[in-house]
Amino acid sequence: MINIEINGKQVTVPKGGTVMDGARQLGIYIPHFCYHKKLSIAANCRMCLVQVEKAPKPLPACATPATEGMKVYTHSQQAVTAQKGVMEFLLINHPLDCPICDQGGECQLQDLAVGYGASESRYQEAKRVVTNKNLGPLISTDMTRCIHCTRCVRFGQEIAGIMELGQAGRGEHSEILAFVGKTVDSELSGNVIDLCPVGALVSKPFRYSARTWELSRRKSISPHCGLGSNLIVQVKIDRVMRVLPRENEEINECWLSDKDRFSYEGLNSEDRLTTPMIKRNGQWHSCDWPEALIFTVDGLKSVMERHGAKGIGALGSAHSTLEELFLLQKLIRALGGGNIDHRVRQADFRADSNLQGVPWLGMNIADVQQLKSVLIIGSTLRKDHPLLAHRFRQAVKNGAQLNIINPMDDDLLMRVANRAIIAPSEMVNMLARVLKAMIEAKSSEGISKHIMQSLEAVNVTDEAQTIANSMLTNSPAAIFLGNIAQHHPSYADIHAIAQVIAKLAGASFGFLGEAANSVGAYLAGAIPNQGVLGSEIKHAEPPFNAAQMLGNSPNNAVPPCKAYILMNLEPELDAYNPQQAMKVIDNAEFVVSLSSFRGNITNYADVILPIAPFTETSGTFVNTEGRVQSFNGVVSPLGDTRPGWKVLRVLGNLLQLDGFDYETSEQIRAQVIPAEDVITRYLNNDLKDYAINIPSEEMIGLQRIGEVPIYQADPIVRRAESLQLTSDAAPPKVWLPTVLLEQLNVNEGEIVRLKQGDGEVQLEVACDDELPFNCVRVASAHSNTIALGALFGEISVEKL
């Protein structure tokens, strides 16, 4: 530790710390532009010059290491003269167009110019003008305002992991730009808007729509991936105008993914529902709430009369709030049924009864950065978890070895130490090989006989060996199952083997939570075999899980439900097998949809109850690390929209069920999350007594790799206009390795026919030679591919 003195005050900074670090600790503000606590030090703006005793010239506080006994003056004559000199230089070529600049009101240059600028300019020469650049649908530029702090460039290099912006040219002619003809496509790109201290990089969707001082700032929580990013939602006249990060070191730090930042556009989309709607005699009518609710109650009752409560299936998206999911399961169970689930993209439920608790990350988000070896199984990491990917990236930068077992080899923008890129049908085998390698290297102690037997026929490969070694020799280590693993038809086996591997390696084991409330949905009891907080539920007949309800059960003898209650779901986009799901839903007698958006609901539902998205209701999300985060509505519900929890509560009342008298969402939350309880004790990734099954024969024929594209993952983001213009939202193509292209005699760019089950689509072909042999990559959750079947499994490709 080093002791220094700043403006006469003592402060201690760690070795290697700077004068700026010391000042920040003391709460002394030193003006700066290029310095940013999360980025490397550039020391290029020179705004932070301060006087240091014995130094002949002023020194930049951001870059000057603290040395024992150093005396610093941040506001002395020398310091202030230097700072004013720099400010003058910064302003000579700046357009000073604050009145028309979007940054006005939140501009660091504007703020500091007030304190450090002269009232009149001594610069009489012509000002520099810089042409604007097209950086894509999210970032708008006004490059004449740029002060060359290079924060945006460093962000790309250091945080996003991809250098898309650079400073070309030199001297006064230097400009921030992307490579000729390129846009900025990183899924974290919007952060440069926050980083830019002036109005050079501003939000394209937000541009010109409001002045910053007209906006009120409200706190919220992101409803998308499992991270649970903290948000500031900015509101003007009851409309969400912009979303910014709310700093939380333990979750999103000061960043947001583009999905979290820009998907608010979906909230204001044309497709929003504003009134309840019912279908009578094949005709849709808007109606008032009482009518819609009575219609709903009648419909449900009539199904129950004929088929009993087990005839009703309830499916709620894990993007719903804890309160909504709690009430949905409570409603179904109070009616005497039990068909409730949120895991609509899960295919394999064999290990459901072996689960010992709620699957979660297995560790704190922030601790990911400390890992030294990581194995990620089945994930499009960057696209499914953009900001978690950044944590992994930092870990890799700090020396962690990243190992992946995945059916595709997309660029993760970080160094991958070992990779096993294999067909989905090979994943269980691959894990078995890693396990075997580990047992051979370490010991078989504690490994069940059954597993030892199943491993007999397994041959260790080099890939498996290196991955096993990486986990064994580097600690702390961790294994994570991504979305692809969780959707996989052999999820249970993947889960079980990964768990054994983790135990053997002394590694932490966890899940990358797919949705904002993947953990919360379990806690709320929105699963068939357990109630709130894992409480036991007794059933005469086992209730249906999501796969069974949606007709995707291996045991097709089980008839699916006669009525469905869908919450925040678009089954044709959200189900593991949309073809099958739509078949059973179309055949149902009665379908209720609680949704914020109209979408295709009128094609299959009988009643539509418009419920509020996260910005218009209070609620709670429990993120993937088990952190409970509640929020309030930031605007009032649109039109006749009502918060989901209120709608479910009234339904409960109308159905004359007990215990539906909640006044506030807090009361509901208290039913799930007891105040004094530690929620983490309900989190547990272990499977008990699950008998692992390692497939012996290889799958023949072509198999699909069906991932969910980043901007198709949930109903809100699907409607975010600007995000839909990004390259990540481009219509899906069918990706094949060259061998397959040759076998099929098709070329890139050609259109082919794809068939799964009794559905088919035609898509453009593209080549990806990193794909395993006989694998066909076709994204799901997109209107162009909903006619297809399961995310994984057989698919056929035909030349047209």
Binding site: I41, K57, P60, P65, V86, L90, H148, G169, G171, E172
Partner: protein, 425 residues
């Protein structure tokens, strides 16, 4: 005084096309110093000690004591260490390194090999100025010769000392002469200087300990090893050991490189260069490359050519580029051209230099074109103040110092320009 002893250019014959080759160099006792060190297994510390004794000071511009710089390299460091030669000679007026490389390339190679030996560096890069392609090609050939003869490469001269040397060709950026910009450039980036600390000795090329010296600095080393540091020191003056190559340009009869002992009177040097062209009067002289303050002719004529004397006279010896200006020179125009240079060559990284150099140039350009304003001179002075000492690298100082010195010594001329909207010469 005659050219009593030459250290670097001794027996160098530019007119003989084979003179630069290894064969000729060996005849001139070339590589004797390297052989001596290796044969006698002289401990690296002793080599550094010898260089310290010689009072050799960096010839790249800053005049930093070379032996001291070498001693900063971490001895015990396990990983790779690098040695880098700064042959990016771009300081206006300087053209000595080019001659060393094209007429006596092996002396540089030998000097670097000795330095590598002394500091435990296994790899070296010689960064050659972009515009001198033919010289770069020659360096490539010379390095190949040395490699084939066993003076470079693995197990040099059968010892366990190994040193690989490569040439890296610049491509037109003055700023790459600044040592950390040069390192960035070798790393394949824009040549933008790094903030120091950390200094290259702890965090240099690829983040590894690195020592950077000028071509002439390295080229002085073989002589020092052969004849001893003491002897080298005696060639010059205390604290200003050895000889120095002065590049003389401008209004003289015989512009060119002159290697002379440090401390000779300027008048003598001027005479060696054939005296003033056309017998005109010496108006001003920039004694150390364009970045250094100009001195009036009469001051120069009384000054000796060594680091300390020139500093006392109010300028700096810098790279030893002596720019001679006679009484036909318009100082406003001269300064305008220099300011344009710094404006064009600023790397654009830090605010005072990026913005300030352009501003300086535009004002001087205005004055030169008869559009000066009375308040401009104070403004120039103040802007130079706001640049100097506030930038990441010394280019900011290099842009500011000439302005201040010109205004200090030739203010009348600037005033005349502003008042009369034309030149007085």
């Amino acid at each position: 005084m005659t050219q009593s002893v030459q250290v670097i250019l001794a027996d160098v014959n530019p007119t003989d096309p084979e003179n630069w080759r290894l064969k000729s160099y060996l005849k001139r006792d070339g590589y004797a110093a390297l052989k001596k060190i290796i044969a006698n297994k002289i401990p690296p510390e002793n080599v550094i000690e010898e260089v310290k004794k010689s009072a050799l000071r960096g010839r790249g511009g800053a005049g930093f004591p070379t032996g001291l710089k070498w001693s900063f390299m971490p001895r015990q460091y396990e990983g790779d260490k690098y040695l880098v030669c700064n042959s990016d000679e771009g300081e206006p007026g300087t053209f000595k390194d080019r001659d060393i490389m094209r007429y006596n390339p092996h002396i540089l190679i030998e000097g670097m090999a000795i330095a590598a030996y002394a500091m435990g560096a296994k790899t070296g890069y010689n960064y050659v100025h972009g515009e001198i392609w033919e010289t770069y090609e020659r360096m490539e050939e010379a390095v190949e010769e040395a490699r084939l003869a066993g003076f470079l490469g693995n197990n040099i001269l059968g010892s366990d000392f190994s040193f690989q040397l490569y040439n890296h060709h610049g491509y037109g950026a003055y700023i790459c002469g600044e040592e950390t910009a040069l390192l960035e450039s070798i790393e394949g980036k824009k040549g933008q200087p790094r903030f120091k600390p950390p200094f290259p000795a702890s965090y240099g090329l690829y983040g590894k300990p690195t020592t950077i010296n000028n071509t002439e600095t390295f080229a002085s080393v073989p002589w020092i090893i052969r004849h001893g540091g003491e002897k080298y020191l005696q060639l010059g003056k205390p604290n200003n050991g050895g000889t120095k190559i002065f590049s003389i340009s401008g209004h003289v009869n015989k512009p060119g490189n002159y290697e002379v002992p440090l401390g000779i009177p300027f008048a003598e040097l001027l005479e060696m260069a054939g005296g003033m062209r056309g017998g005109r009067k010496l108006k001003g002289c920039i004694p150390g490359g364009s970045s250094m303050p100009v001195l009036p002719g009469d001051v120069m004529m009384k000054t000796d050519m060594d680091y300390d004397s020139i500093a006392k006279a109010g300028s700096m010896l810098g790279s030893g580029a002596v720019i001679i200006m006679d009484d036909t020179t318009c100082m406003v125009r001269a300064l305008e051209r220099l300011s344009y240079f710094y404006y064009e060559e600023s790397c654009g990284q830090c605010t005072p230099c990026r913005e300030g150099t352009g501003w300086l140039y535009r004002i001087i350009n205005r004055i030169e074109h008869g559009k000066g304003r009375p308040e401009d001179l104070d403004l120039l002075d103040n802007l130079a103040d706001n640049i100097q000492g506030r930038t990441i690298c010394a280019l900011g100082d290099a842009a500011a110092m000439p302005v201040r010195a010109m205004l200090q010594h030739f203010r009348d001329e600037f005033v005349y320009h502003i008042e009369h909207k034309k030149c007085m010469v």
